[in-house]
């Protein structure tokens, strides 16, 4: 009797996490509060049990996340007794950067990409776990599990280290770092199945509920606080919606849905006809946009 595909994926992810713990001096887990991060954290708890994961969690807070995400994050870290680091790009805050005033590209660059680089440099992390998967996007399909970053946090797709078997080369020089993707070989379906099987807690934003929303450029945007600029006379409307991915609320489109349980969500996800990242404003540029962003240091 051999292992099922989920058991094999789980074992592979655990192996990767232990390798980082054994070989890297100062690792960190990038925790973004979404479902993939939830699975990654769950795997970390399994990998080191009965020890706690031997690294802190780092959340790069753009100050535009859904309020519920922040509550969920703080609760979870407290319940599990894990060290949680939160980093905000204070230069961006002073400048007043936000998606409504500066556009999604600039906002994402300053509050996410630059902020992440700041945090990695500040704490001198030599390895950072990320929850990205190869099935998400074409340029990710070729990225290594242990992905080398220069001292400037750049990714060079043409100069990647060969990665054979489950033997990972973690050697770097001073100032350089690795991004490590333990869930590289998972697909979206695997993630949902695993959440279902392992009963993993995810933010309720994934579940449909009545929420106040407005429409912007064809996207349904939740009015999560009073920073949403409303047209004269415009009123948010209550709609039964949920979110397929979680990010900055002004950049994350909701979908109308009646899915209020996990099986409902999975059912809806499987029957849907557009891919997961479609709700994100960031991917709408040219085909190679993600590859370009990654070279610049976007996770």
């Amino acid at each position: 009797m051999s292992l099922t595909h989920l058991e094999l994926l789980e074992a592979e992810s655990i192996h990767i996490m232990r390798e980082v713990a054994a070989e890297c001096e100062n690792p960190v887990m990038l925790y973004s509060i979404g479902k993939d991060s939830s699975v990654m954290l769950h795997l970390a708890l399994k990998a080191f049990y009965p020890s706690k994961p031997p690294f802190p969690l780092l959340h790069v807070d753009t100050t535009w996340k859904f309020r519920e995400m922040i509550e969920f994050r703080d609760n979870l870290a407290k319940t599990l007794g894990l060290e949680l680091l939160v980093h905000i790009n204070e230069d961006g805050v002073k400048e007043g950067v936000g998606p409504f005033t500066h556009g999604s590209a600039y906002h994402t660059d300053v509050m996410k990409t630059q902020a992440l680089k700041q945090a990695l440099s500040k704490y001198k992390f030599d390895a950072a776990f990320g929850g990205a998967r190869r099935d998400e996007e074409k340029s990710r399909a070729k990225e290594r599990i242990f992905s080398f970053r220069s001292a400037q946090h750049r990714w060079d797709p043409k100069n990647q280290r060969p990665e054979l078997w489950n033997i990972y080369n973690t050697r770097i020089s001073k100032g350089e770092s690795m991004r490590v993707f333990p869930m590289s070989n998972w697909t979206e379906l695997d993630i949902w199945q695993y959440i279902h099987l392992e009963n993993i807690q995810i933010p309720s934003l994934y579940y449909a509920a009545k929420r106040p929303v407005v429409e912007r450029d064809g996207m349904i945007i939740m009015v999560d606080d009073d920073r949403v600029p409303l047209e004269p006379g415009e009123e948010p409307v209550e709609k039964m919606v949920r979110f397929r991915t979680l990010g900055c609320y002004p950049l994350t489109g909701a979908v109308e849905s009646e899915a209020t349980t996990l099986p409902d969500i999975i059912q809806e996800t499987l029957l849907t006809t557009s891919s997961e990242r479609q709700g994100r404003a960031i991917d709408k540029d040219s085909a190679a946009s993600m590859e370009k962003k990654k070279q610049e240091g976007y996770f």
Binding site: E19, A22, P50, W165, I172, Q267, L271, A288
Partner: protein, 635 residues
């Protein structure tokens, strides 16, 4: 994503239950763009409905912009990911693709087929259980078909699918297909495959990809997908006795000591007797701990934490084995190596090996032969270039536990890492131990290095002078020896020219010979240090890695790197021996500084500047260093 739409819509829980028991198959596709490899993968994704509507509309746009199929959708564009590849229209790296059916989840490693990408194919093959080898029906078996098959076999893939593609362009000729199948099976006999299945198909039109084709009714076998869904790969791990390389020692508090790792073969239960290799210590498994509770049993590929009944010393890199048929240990091996770096591999050069969760220094002591991957012929050679495969002897810095790769793909595999750049530069598979390291014990001499040095009242060391020809190395070394001799030190000078007339007179000036030249000098100087001498080595020694290798032979503090820093133009102007002139005229080949590189030391212990400084002043500088660092105090 809409396979099994009905069940998903009607009973999602039943669907989820059915999905949880899916098995997992990792495959490799090899073939060139012209064979339609990307098209085949695109077809598999497309036909198993793993493509969403928005991706499909993006694909239609891309097809119009840069497609090669006219008005048809170019499925290859789905998988050619990186921007550079789209521009060049070729696949240059390994990409991983995912799809699933009701029975199995699949990962396909999509690798390029050209000879310059052997390393990428080997990378994809290392984690695959099955290889799909594409052949263009019009062109038949080519050199590249043999190359792909050889690499698949070398990396331990036992199941092969020969996809004879573009059958639509040969009118689905049964005769043509049979001819190709016969030729393939003919040469594949020399390789180590368990099962070969040949399928006629057209990836472009979908014939025999998901469903059996109406256009070649003479073919009675399965479609590609039918085969992939049912092929039995449970025999892939042939070894059945338990072993788990220890990855991480789990020590949350004083009361718990567990050993975490991924099981590389067999199964384990509480109460099983185990032996730890290389220490040979024995104990009994107490518990198999996971977060959901203790396990009754665990098997190959599971990542677990094991506790033992006895407190014995176990570290990362040890292998916990069943007491019957445990792993072997050795520090001398024969291995197959695939070279993956622009800079060639040279015997004598030292690398870092990572194997079974540990890193050890490794030196290739001999390149026995290179393998021509196109026709499997053995060829002589002094070095392995990028994408070349060779059979080598290896010597490690310490004994390690292992199995032969043929027995176990997990515990017999290794990678080689460059000491300077940290790049992964080679991958290898252990064949067998050249000796039982356990049987070879260093001669325990009663008179040792310390005793000899004490008798001479000195602290032995090597002063390694490196620098361009004409920089003044030998002059300074000679003067320094005189000074040391005058104060009663026992010394010796190993000089490039002198050694080349004797010990190394069989060596030339190719990169491979330069490496061997330095290796012999380094070993000689080590013996002299053991004899208690202060040794001055005066060699151009242009490569950092060889100087590092020499340093690694000595104990800490025994190796002093002296960089005699003279710019090329100054050395060339001096040209004491007239060598630069000859090199410039092309009468001497591979001359350092002219047509062979000099890699200046990055962190030398002493830098001597001979532009503004006389040799006498340089000697004073070195003596001051020796004094400050305690080399002259013992007397």
């Amino acid at each position: 994503m809409s396979h099994q739409d009905n069940l998903i819509a009607e009973d999602i829980l039943a669907y989820l239950e059915a999905q949880r028991n899916k098995s997992y198959l990792r495959c490799l596709t090899c073939g060139s763009v012209d064979d339609g490899k990307s098209t085949l993968i695109g077809r598999l994704l497309f036909d198993s409905k793993m493509i969403y509507e928005d991706q499909l509309s993006a694909l239609e746009n891309d097809s119009k912009k840069s497609g090669t199929q006219g008005e048809k959708i170019d499925l290859a564009l789905l998988v050619d990911g990186l921007a550079a590849e789209r521009e060049q229209g070729i696949t240059i790296d390994v990409a991983y693709r995912f799809f699933s059916t009701d029975k199995r989840k699949f990962i396909i490693a999509d690798t390029p087929g050209h000879i310059q990408y052997t390393r990428n194919m080997a990378t994809g093959a290392s984690t695959a259980d099955l290889a799909i080898i594409l052949i263009d029906a019009r062109r038949g078996v080519l050199d590249q078909t043999r190359r792909h098959s050889y690499i698949a076999s070398l990396l331990g893939i036992r199941n092969i699918v020969v996809a004879v593609n573009k059958m639509d362009l040969v009118e689905f000729s049964q005769h043509k297909f049979n001819e190709i199948e016969e030729e393939y099976r003919g040469f594949a006999e020399k390789l180590d495959f368990k099962e070969i299945v040949c399928i006629p198909m057209s990836a472009l039109d979908g014939d025999n990809v998901m469903n059996r084709s109406e256009r070649c009714k003479w073919y009675k076998g399965k479609s590609l997908m039918e085969h992939l869904e049912t092929v039995d790969i449970s025999q892939e791990v042939t070894q059945t006795s338990f072993r788990m390389p220890v990855q991480w020692v789990n020590r949350p508090n004083l009361d718990f000591r567990g050993y975490s790792g991924t099981i590389a073969a067999g199964q384990v239960k509480p109460g099983d007797e185990i032996i730890v290799i290389p220490s040979g210590k024995r104990s009994v498994v107490d518990k198999i701990v996971i977060r959901d509770g203790d396990l009754y049993q665990a098997e190959v590929n599971e990542s677990v934490t094991i506790t033992l009944r006895d407190e014995i010393d176990i570290s990362r890199g040890d292998i916990i084995c069943s007491t019957d048929d445990p792993a072997e240990q050795s520090d001398q091996f024969q291995a197959n190596i695939i070279w993956m770096d622009e800079e060639a591999m040279f015997p004598g050069r030292q690398y870092i090996m990572k194997i079974n969760n540990q890193t050890v220094p490794a030196t290739v002591t001999d390149l026995k032969y290179k393998v021509n991957v196109n026709n499997f012929a053995h060829e002589a050679g002094k070095s392995l270039a990028l994408n070349e495969v060779g059979v080598c002897n290896l010597s490690l810095g310490k004994p390690i536990p292992f199995d032969s790769y043929k027995k176990n793909r997990h515990t017999g595999a290794f990678i080689l890492i460059d000491r300077q750049t940290n790049a992964t530069i080679g991958a290898g598979m252990l064949d067998y131990s050249l000796r039982r390291a356990a049987n070879v014990v260093w001669q325990d001499l009663e008179v040792g290095k310390v005793e000899r040095a004490n008798l001479k009242h000195q602290k032995p060391a090597v002063l390694w002078f490196t620098g361009l020809s004409g920089s003044g190395k030998s002059t300074i070394a000679g003067l320094l020896e005189k000074k040391l001799f005058d104060i009663g030190r026992h010394t010796y000078v190993l000089d490039g020219d002198n050694v080349r007339h004797g010990l190394n007179k069989d060596l030339g000036f190719t990169d491979a010979d330069r490496v061997e030249n330095i290796r012999r000098v380094a070993e000689t100087s080590r013996l002299m240090v053991e004899a208690g001498l202060m040794v001055m080595v005066s060699f151009i020694s242009p490569f950092r890695s060889e100087r590092q290798m020499a340093r690694n032979l000595m104990e800490d503090g025994e190796f002093i790197e002296v960089f005699v820093n003279t710019p090329l133009d100054v050395a060339e102007q001096r040209d004491v021996k007239g060598l630069y002139k000859k090199a410039r005229e092309g009468k001497i080949k591979n001359f350092t500084g002219i047509d062979s590189p000099y890699e200046a030391p990055e962190n030398p212990d002493i830098v001597v500047d001979t532009v503004d400084k006389t040799p006498e002043k340089a000697v004073e500088q070195i003596l001051a260093y020796l004094e400050e660092n305690g080399y002259l105090s013992a007397s």
